[in-house]
Symmetry: C3
Subunit: 228 residues, 3 copies
């Protein structure tokens, strides 16, 4: 407990790996005013894979755990590189990026809330930290890429999904459910809400890209998106 | 002192409440390329109400005090919701948003500087922390909303006002004036400078919105602002 | 070592001074939709001079060292003011801004990596912290000024140069080379790579401005740059 609490390394690294993969896939699909070069794609993978955890630890007043071991950066970099390699074929499997995204925000949210609870934060801030951990990597990504911040404009869905998962985790914890089980339920809740939201809107995975293309055409405001 | 120093909870919560209210009022009046949904407005209220305090504590190397109690988030959320409810009638009382804004930056600046002094920071960094606490929430808000950062383009006024209040607080503190009295003087100074600046420019509260509309028309650069 | 480690004050202040100078020179040359006022230029000088060090210390979980002494802010402010005064004549000495920039990122990168090593971070995170310290001030500057984030779009060069310098420092440290000597080699490596990259691209210092002007003309996306 307290200082000694550590999320199991394999779980944390899995989240980082999926985040790095998703970030690189997302960035590979981006066509802006200037295409991102390969390093840019790798940076976005890193940011998306590690950003949530770093924001979580800053809010908790701890040294970022992801910088106390070589493994996080190695994992995030490797998965970002993998994402770049497989981006072209995988873009056809449209649902994959959305699905990965949903699972990643679920994982970051659950880890953020768990760590906050185990460090003794009250329940409301614990949920807040979970939401920030879940959406923080995406906010950093959008700011670095000069995109509208998704969580504000598209993605109330993100915040709602992350908030619901984090709140469920807190409730289950108060009811005495072990953190691991509560975490699994929280990840599932967040991911399912996010995926249902995408389905319910009848929006394709490229929804945001398409939307951007339309907005770009109408307003000239957003980096022009040429046909993917 | 030191670790044990806490700004009185009621004062801190009042600042957070006014910040949440102002943030929600500001965001409600925003018409961008996509109108913010209700959750977006609430998020901006939260960010504006709590951002300054979190930035202050990060710069001071402390755990964010606003996450050690349920009250801050509850207060900020409630006041943001209140702001959304009363946004429509209140937008006619034009001066209110500007006035609230002036008081809020005054409060955050004074609390930031006080906490820095009481934690033993030298006087120049104490003023710096106060200014960052005062304008930080607004910077986060603008970045999340994709607006030009007000403190850079419009709001030298903000930085000057916050700097003057924070510097006065430090001087009064060095002269032996109790923190509470010095804080009141600092808040008043910041708020008055900011309000005088708005008056002196003969600019209405909507100044920024109007300005934006003009810039948008001329350059297509800023989210098109349709008639409020 | 550990908590007691401090980069020599004169070296740290030199980096801050050069950063403040470069930031102010950069911002003075900026013509956006609204010209920055003098305070805006000073703020950018401060942000560029101090941003890297603050980000470094946040990632390391330490109180920002730059806020524990009056000297950093005084130095950064003074050098930013100096930069504003000499901006007009100096803009003719085109290479100077680019050269300063290269040295500044070298210094911030080397200090970031050194501090990380001496605080006991593993080698990969130590390089990461160095890169973040090197490019962090520039990212903050670009976000505040509403510019595309240079490190993503133009400046893979920045990240590569900073990464190479930081990695060299780590390798030399592992080989037993004293930190001071390793640091000098790292700064030189970063600066030379960055300068060679600029040369090799046959790009003038104004490259980014010119590029922006073209992009602005083509897309209306970036603040219109009128003749410098």
């Amino acid at each position: 407990m307290g200082q000694g609490f550590v999320i199991p390394l394999w779980a944390d690294l899995s989240a980082v790996a999926l985040g790095g993969l998703q970030g690189a896939l997302f960035a590979s699909g981006f066509r802006g005013q200037r295409r991102l070069d390969l390093l840019g794609v790798a940076i976005i993978g890193l940011v998306f894979g590690m950003g949530g955890g770093i924001i979580r630890d800053l809010l908790l007043g701890r040294e970022p755990a992801t910088l106390r071991s070589d493994w996080y950066l190695v994992t995030a970099t490797a998965s970002a590189l993998l994402g770049m390699l497989i981006a072209r074929p995988l873009h056809r499997v449209a649902g994959l990026i959305v699905g990965l995204d949903a699972v990643v925000i679920g994982l970051f949210g659950a880890f953020g809330t768990s760590k906050a609870i185990l460090l003794g934060l009250p329940v409301v801030p614990a949920v807040f930290v979970g939401v920030c951990a879940a959406v923080g990597g995406g906010v950093l990504r959008d700011v670095l890429m000069g995109l509208p911040v998704a969580v504000m404009h598209v993605g109330s869905l993100y915040a709602v999904a992350a908030g619901a998962g984090s709140a469920l985790l807190v409730v289950l914890h108060l009811l005495g459910v072990p953190v691991a089980a509560a975490g699994v339920a929280a990840v599932a809740t967040t991911a399912v809400i996010r995926l249902l939201a995408v389905r319910f809107d009848l929006s394709l995975p490229e929804q945001r890209m398409l939307h951007r293309r339309r907005v770009a055409a109408e307003t000239g405001l957003i980096p022009v998106v040429r046909g993917d």
